[in-house]
Symmetry: C2
């Protein structure tokens, strides 16, 4: 059976849990306490030297880290990854956008708040920039979704799953989506794709 | 002909130029002056709403942004992207690592120095963290390369091209690779794969 090094508060880990659930693939979940440094122990660093969850242990023991690489691995050949060459590149386009322009801002501010991270001088100084860049990323998404149902093609792909993970809990990071109607309608469409599970479900 | 919205100082853009050169695919290069805000004009934002280079204009006019998504698009079916399902996911694993854990640190410090960016209080406060996280990323690479010639499988893939782009000029960001012998040997191996072009070549 697949084994997932997981964390129930992590949007990156939720992406993987959500796709596994949609694909009805059973998984053994190992909850890692990030706040207590369980992803930075010598034992875990031997599994993922970058010290992060999620990481997926395959049947042969190979450890695959990076949430969006795991999504790609699991989605190949399913309805969640198109066959067309350009659409596949566009799925990656939005997943790289998610990790570079969205997650370091929207997810990081949520993490600082919900995990009650100490607001050092460095974090206080970085907060306004992350707030501005987070809204910039949400604005790019809003513009793209104005005349589209999903990010690539006309159905839900792993690009939507990747972007949904932290966008649907952006309010927990202090982001107000009131001015983003297309984004909110898209959140509803993603949640309506069944089967679905909430971020808190293991 | 393909058209590349490009910048000769950008490692992200160099990734695409290098792969196009290896594949002998001709391209019309449009040099964008980032310092003068040419990637944030209404005209360019209509092409790439995220306001970044590189962006590749395909024959039909479709604009594909995100350097690593462009690499994937161009490499499909070539020697630079494996056919094996796990190896393909591992190529993505390292490309997501590059954009999340490496580029925001190693490339950003190089950008601040080489483009003589004003060192605001926010940037001065962020610098030590980016320095530390940059060395952390280089350390993860060094550990992986200790007993491997390339990042995935036994030959050069787009994972190597993506990571080479900013690692081979890390010294311009003040990073010293003296303590990373496996990394330096890998840089030499990547540069020895012909044909090759330097970052400054259009």
């Amino acid at each position: 059976m697949l084994r997932l090094y997981d964390n129930l508060s992590s949007g990156n880990a939720y992406k993987v849990r959500l796709l596994l659930h949609k694909l009805a693939i059973p998984v053994e979940r190992i909850e890692m306490d990030i706040d207590r440094g369980e992803t930075r122990t010598p034992d875990f660093l031997a599994k993922n030297p970058n010290g992060r969850v999620p990481a997926l242990a395959l049947e042969d023991g190979t450890i695959l880290p990076e949430s969006n690489a795991i999504l790609w691995y699991l989605a190949e050949g399913t309805r969640f990854l198109p066959a067309d060459r350009l659409e596949r590149a566009q799925v990656l386009q939005w997943m790289f956008f998610e990790q570079y322009s969205h997650e370091p801002n929207v997810a990081t501010l949520r993490y600082w708040i919900t995990h009650k991270v100490e607001m050092t001088a460095e974090r206080r100084m970085a907060e306004p920039g992350k707030r501005r860049q987070g809204y910039d990323a949400l604005g790019v998404m809003e513009g793209h979704l104005k005349d589209r149902a999903f990010f690539v093609g006309d159905r839900l792909t792993i690009a939507d799953i990747a972007l949904y993970a932290y966008t649907h809990v952006a309010d927990e990071g202090g982001f107000d989506l009131a001015a983003y109607p297309a984004l909110r309608a898209w959140l509803d469409r993603v949640a309506a794709d069944t089967p679905h599970i909430p971020i808190t479900q293991g």
